[in-house]
Amino acid sequence: MATSSSTVELTLRGRVVAWLATLAAGASWLGDDANARLAAAMLAAPLLVDFVGKQRRLHHAEVRLGPRRTSAGAPFSERLALVHRGRGRLRDCLFTEPRTMRSEPPVLLPTMAPGVPTTVGYRARSLQRSHVLERVFVLVSAWPLGLFRTRAVLSVTADLITEPARVPLQAEVVQGIAELEQAPRDRTSLPGPDFHSLREHLPDEDARSVHALRSASVGMLVRRVTQGRIPRTVGIVLDLRRPPGRSNTSARRFEWSLGACASLVAYLRARAAQVQVLVLDQAHTRFLVKGPAQETDLMTLLAEASPAPHHTLPGELFDEFRRLEHCFWIPAGAFLSSPELAAMSAHATVVGGEFE
C-alpha cells in the first residue's frame, strides 16, 4: 500500500480567526493594551488547540478493496473496508475518491477505532475510460474545532477498469443486424427465435425482452437471450490507426468509436453470436469473443486503447474476415480511406464513418 503523509491547512473559518488573532496580537503589542491582549488570546487559543489536537495520522488508514470493472459514466456502488492503523481514534473524517466521486458527496466516518475495519459504501461513477492499477482516496478531517483541516491521500493497489461508455448504435447498424435476423440463413429453423439463456438487463435496453417471472424470483431484471437467427460469427475491425500524415485524432471520435465497438460486441453477444474482433493498433490483436472471459479481455484492451500511428497492413490479415458473412469496420482513428476497407466494402458496414 502506497501512502503519503497528511497535510494540515487552514479552513476559511480558521483563516478568519487567524487574521483576527493576528490583528489583535499586533494591536496588543503596539498599544500595550490589556484588552487587545485578551482578545488576541481568546482568538488564538482555539487555533492553537485545534492545531495541536489535530488528527495528523490520517494517512495511517489503510484501504482494502477488490478490483472493479465499470463502464465510463455508469454509476456503480462501491464497498470497501477502511482500517485505521494509528493509535488514537479518528473522528469526523470525510472519505472520498476524487476519480469516481466528482459529483458525489464524501462519506462521513464519525469514528474509526484503531485496528477495526470500517465498511464504507458509496455511489461512484468513473467518467473516463481507463485502466488504473492504483486507486487514490482522500481522507479529510477538520476535527476538533474546524479551524484547521487535515488531508491525507491514501493509495491502494487495486484494478479499476473503466470500459468505454456504451453508445446508442446507429440506425443503419441496428437495421443491418435486424435485416440479417429477418433473413435467416437456415430456413429449417422455427419461425421464432430460439431461447438461449438469461442475462442481466441493462438500463438502456428495450424492456420488452425482460423475463418477468425470473426477474421477480432473482430480485433483479433479467432478460432473454435468443439465438438462431443471426450469423454465428460476426466480424468487427477496430481500426485505431490515424490517417497518413496526421499526428492527432479527435478524442471524441476515438472514444465514441471504442464505445461503439463495446456496444456492438455486447449487442451481438446478447444475441448469442460469436464476434471475431481485430484491433488494428501498433500490432494487430485478434479476439474471438465466445464467452465472458474473452469479452472481458476485449473490454480491458478497449479500456487501455490509444490511437496508433498510421502503418500499412499485410493483405492476408483480413482473409478470415472475407470469409465471414458480415463484418463491421470501426475507423476509430478516423482513417476512412483505408484500402483494406475498400476491399471489404461489399460485406462490411462502417460504424461511425460520418461521425464528424
Binding site: 488547540v49 462521513l108 485502466h131 490483436t285
Partner: protein, 669 residues
C-alpha cells in the same frame, strides 16, 4: 448502556450554545452604560425578526417590520430609561444583528453569531473591564460551539442527514472530548494572554511600575519619579515607560550588589485618592567638596559604600538606599536631609556619585514616631470616605500593633486584589476605588498597592509615606558584581516612620516586584517588612501559582505544545504482511529489466501498466518467455505477498539477460 447522540440533538445543541454565547456576551455589558431597557430595545426586535424569518413571505416586508419594531423599541427605551452613554450607543449597533442571527438558526448563522457575540464581549470588556468568570464561561461555550460547528459542517458536506446507529458518536465520548477541548482552550487562552505580555511593546515596555521622569515635566499627567503621582488615566503609567537605562550600582571593592536593594529617588507624603504629592521640603545645598549628610552612622553596624553611575534616563534624580548616611561626589547637590530627599541641579554633567549607607534590617526601629502627625504623615485626602476602608480593615482583622497591621494589610491586599500591569477598571470614578472596591477583577500595579496600603496604615494611626525608585535590577553585563537598573525596574513601596528610622514595607506581591529579575534573585523585602513573614507563613499555594503562571514558563509550554504538534508523524506502522519483503530489491531488478528492454527499442510508455506493456511486447512477438517470467516474478513479489527468494531473483536476472539479448536481435534485424 451508552446513549447515542442523534443528529437533531447536535443541531439543537448548536443553537443552544450560540444562545449561551450571546447571553454571556450581553451579560458582560455594563448595566450602568446600557440599562436593561435599552438592552431589550436593541435585542428584542432582532430576535423577533429572526423568529419570524421563515414565516415572512418577502424580505422587504421583513425589513419594514424590523424598522418599525426597532424604532418603536428605541422610542420606548428612551422614554423609560433616558439617553444612554455615547460608547454604549455606538456599541449597540451590533446587538440587533446578533439577536437576529441567534434566533434565525440557519447554517451560516453559527459562525456569524459567534463573531458578533465576540465583538459584543469585547465591547463589554472595554466599557467595564474584565469579568473573569463571564469571560471564561464565554470562552468555554464558544469552544464547544466551534466543536459542534465542525461536526455539523462535516455532516453537511457528506449530505447525509441521518447517521446510522453504528455511526452515531456516543454521548460519553462526545462529552469527554468536547469538554477536554474546551478546557484546553481556556488554559491556552490564559497562557497566551500571559505569554503575550512578554513581547516588548514599541510604545511602552512592560515593567513593574513607575513612569519616566521626562513625562513628569512634559505633560500634565505628572507621574512616577516626579513631584506627584496621578493614579488612573486612560493609558496608565506603563504606557509612559520608555525602557531607558537609569543607573548602574556597584561596590568599590567589587563585591556583588544585593538584588533586594530598594533605591529611592523620591517620596510622596501628601495623600490623595487620585494623586499623591511630595509635600513640603526643607532644601539645603552643599558644595561639591563636602558630602551631603543625611544622618550619622549607627554604631556597631558596618558601613557600606555604593558607587552609582547615572545613565541617560535618570536626569537629575539621586537614587539612594533606605538607610543612607551620606552622599558625595555630586556637584550642585541639594535636598532635605531629614526626609531623605535629594536632587542635583539641572544641566550639571557629573554622573558618578558614592553613597555611604548601613543595612539596618536587624536593628530595632523602636516605637512609632510621635512627631509624625505634625509632619503630615497621618493625613488622609479631603472628602475621603473612610467607611469602606474601615470595612476592609475590619474584614482583614487589622489591629493596632504596627507590625501586625502591616502584615495583615499586605496579606489582605494580596488576597483582595490582583497584580496586573494595567490600570484598574470598574464602575468607580477613581482608580484607587476601582482597585479596592470594584465588584470583580480588582487589579492594579505597585502604586495602587502602595497607595491603598498607605491610606489604610494612616487610618490605623501608623505614619507612612510612599517611596518611589527602582528595585531588583539585573546583573550588569559589563561590570562584575554591579547591577543595572532601568525604567522597567521602577517600583513604589511604603515607608513607615518609626522613631529611629524609616522602615520599608512593600505590599506588592513579591513575585511581581522587578518582573525581569531572575526568580532566584527575588528577594524578601528589605528591613522588617512583613512580606517576608507573609511569604514564609506561607501563602505557598499563591507562590506556586505565581510561579506556574509566569509568562516565560507559559510561553515555553506553548512552544513545546507547538513543537510536539509539528513533530513529524512518520510513516504509518505497516500491518503484518502489507509490505512485501524484498519489494525494493525486486523493483530495482525490474528497473534493470525495463532499461534493457528500452535499449532494445521497447520503451514502456508513461503510465502504461506492466501487463499492458507485456501484451504489447507479445503482439510484437518480442515477449520472450524469460522476460514474461521475470515480470510475473516481480508481480508475485510486489502484489502477491511472496518473498524475493533465490529462485525469483534468478528468474528476474535471467529476464534481464534475455532482454539484453533482444538488443542484439534488434541490431541483426
Amino acid at each position: 448502556m451508552k446513549r447515542p447522540v442523534p443528529m437533531s440533538l447536535a443541531r439543537r445543541t448548536a443553537a443552544l450554545l450560540l444562545l449561551c454565547c450571546t447571553t454571556l456576551a450581553l451579560a458582560n455589558l455594563p448595566a450602568s452604560d446600557l440599562p436593561l431597557g435599552w438592552l431589550l430595545a436593541f435585542t428584542l426586535p432582532g430576535a423577533t425578526l429572526g423568529l419570524l424569518r421563515k414565516k415572512a413571505a418577502r424580505p422587504w416586508d421583513l425589513a419594514l417590520l424590523g424598522i418599525l419594531l426597532q424604532a418603536g423599541a428605541c422610542y420606548l427605551a428612551l422614554e423609560v430609561e433616558g439617553p444612554m452613554t455615547r460608547p454604549a450607543a455606538l456599541a449597540c449597533t451590533i446587538l440587533p444583528p446578533l439577536a437576529f442571527v441567534t434566533t434565525r438558526r440557519e447554517e451560516s448563522d453559527l459562525s456569524l453569531g459567534l463573531f458578533l457575540s465576540f465583538c459584543v464581549l469585547l465591547v463589554g470588556i472595554i466599557l467595564d473591564g474584565i469579568h473573569l468568570p463571564l469571560i471564561a464561561a464565554y470562552a468555554g461555550a464558544s469552544c464547544l460551539s466551534l466543536y459542534n460547528a465542525a461536526h455539523l459542517t462535516a455532516r453537511a458536506a457528506s449530505r447525509r442527514p441521518a447517521p446510522t446507529p453504528s455511526e452515531r458518536p456516543r454521548l460519553g465520548d462526545v462529552l469527554v472530548s468536547s469538554g477536554g477541548i474546551a478546557l484546553a482552550c481556556l488554559l491556552s487562552a490564559f497562557a497566551i494572554e500571559r505569554a503575550l505580555g512578554l513581547l516588548p511593546s514599541p510604545t511602552g515596555p512592560r515593567g513593574s511600575a513607575v513612569s519616566s521622569p521626562t513625562d513628569s515635566r512634559s505633560t500634565s499627567r505628572t507621574v512616577g519619579l516626579g513631584e506627584s503621582f496621578v493614579l488612573g488615566g486612560s493609558q496608565g503609567v506603563l504606557a509612559e515607560l520608555r525602557g531607558e537605562r537609569l543607573l548602574r550600582a556597584r561596590s568599590p571593592d567589587g563585591s556583588p550588589v544585593a538584588a533586594d536593594l530598594y533605591l529611592r529617588s523620591g517620596f510622596f507624603a501628601v495623600p490623595g485618592l487620585d494623586r499623591w504629592q511630595t509635600g513640603p521640603l526643607t532644601r539645603t545645598k552643599v558644595p561639591s567638596t563636602v558630602p551631603f549628610v543625611l544622618r550619622p552612622p549607627e554604631p556597631r553596624v558596618p558601613v557600606e559604600t555604593l558607587r552609582f553611575e547615572r545613565l541617560a534616563g535618570s536626569r537629575n534624580f539621586v537614587f539612594v538606599p533606605p538607610d543612607t548616611c551620606e552622599v558625595r561626589g555630586l556637584e550642585g547637590l541639594y535636598g532635605d536631609a531629614a526626609r531623605g530627599w535629594l536632587r542635583q541641579e539641572e544641566g550639571l554633567p557629573q554622573e558618578v556619585y558614592e553613597v555611604v549607607w548601613q543595612r539596618l534590617d536587624g536593628l530595632p526601629a523602636g516605637p512609632l514616631d510621635p512627631n509624625a502627625a505634625s509632619q503630615g504623615l497621618l493625613s488622609v485626602p479631603d472628602g475621603f470616605d473612610r467607611a469602606p476602608f474601615h470595612e476592609l480593615l475590619e474584614a482583614w482583622q487589622v489591629g493596632d500593633p504596627p507590625r501586625t497591621a502591616m502584615e495583615r494589610i499586605a496579606a489582605g491586599l494580596r488576597r483582595h486584589c490582583r497584580y496586573d500591569r494595567s490600570e484598574p477598571i470598574g464602575p468607580h470614578p477613581l482608580a484607587l476605588q476601582n482597585f479596592l472596591f470594584a465588584a470583580e477583577d480588582r487589579r492594579g500595579y505597585c502604586m495602587h498597592f502602595a497607595s491603598a496600603a498607605a491610606l489604610m496604615l494612616r487610618l490605623r494611626g501608623i505614619p507612612c509615606r510612599i517611596a518611589v525608585g527602582v528595585y531588583g535590577g539585573e546583573a550588569d553585563a559589563e561590570v562584575d558584581g554591579a547591577r543595572s537598573y532601568g525604567s522597567q525596574h521602577a517600583h513604589a513601596w511604603v515607608e513607615v516612620r518609626f522613631q529611629r528610622r524609616w522602615v520599608v514595607f512593600d505590599p506588592t506581591p513579591p513575585a511581581e516586584r522587578g518582573r525581569r529579575a531572575p526568580i532566584a534573585a527575588e528577594p524578601a523585602p528589605a528591613s522588617e517588612a512583613p512580606d517576608a513573614e507573609a511569604a514564609e507563613s506561607g501563602d505557598l499555594l499563591a507562590e506556586t501559582f505565581d510561579l506556574l503562571t509566569r509568562p516565560w514558563l507559559l510561553a515555553v509550554a506553548l512552544l513545546l505544545a507547538l513543537l510536539t504538534a509539528l513533530w513529524p508523524a512518520g510513516s504509518p506502522r505497516p500491518a503484518h504482511g502489507i509490505t512485501p519483503t524484498g519489494a525494493k530489491s525486486a523493483r530495482r531488478l525490474l528497473v534493470r529489466l525495463l532499461r534493457a528492454l528500452a535499449d532494445a527499442g521497447h520503451l514502456r510508455r508513461h503510465g502504461q501498466t506492466l501487463e499492458s506493456f507485456a501484451r504489447e511486447l507479445g503482439r510484437q512477438k518480442r515477449l520472450l518467455p524469460e522476460v514474461s517470467a521475470a515480470m510475473f516474478a516481480y508481480q508475485e513479489v510486489r502484489f502477491g505477498g511472496c518473498r524475493l527468494d533465490a529462485g525469483r531473483e534468478s528468474v528476474l536476472l535471467r529476464g534481464i539477460e534475455a532482454a539484453s539479448g533482444l538488443r542484439a536481435m534488434a541490431n541483426r534485424d
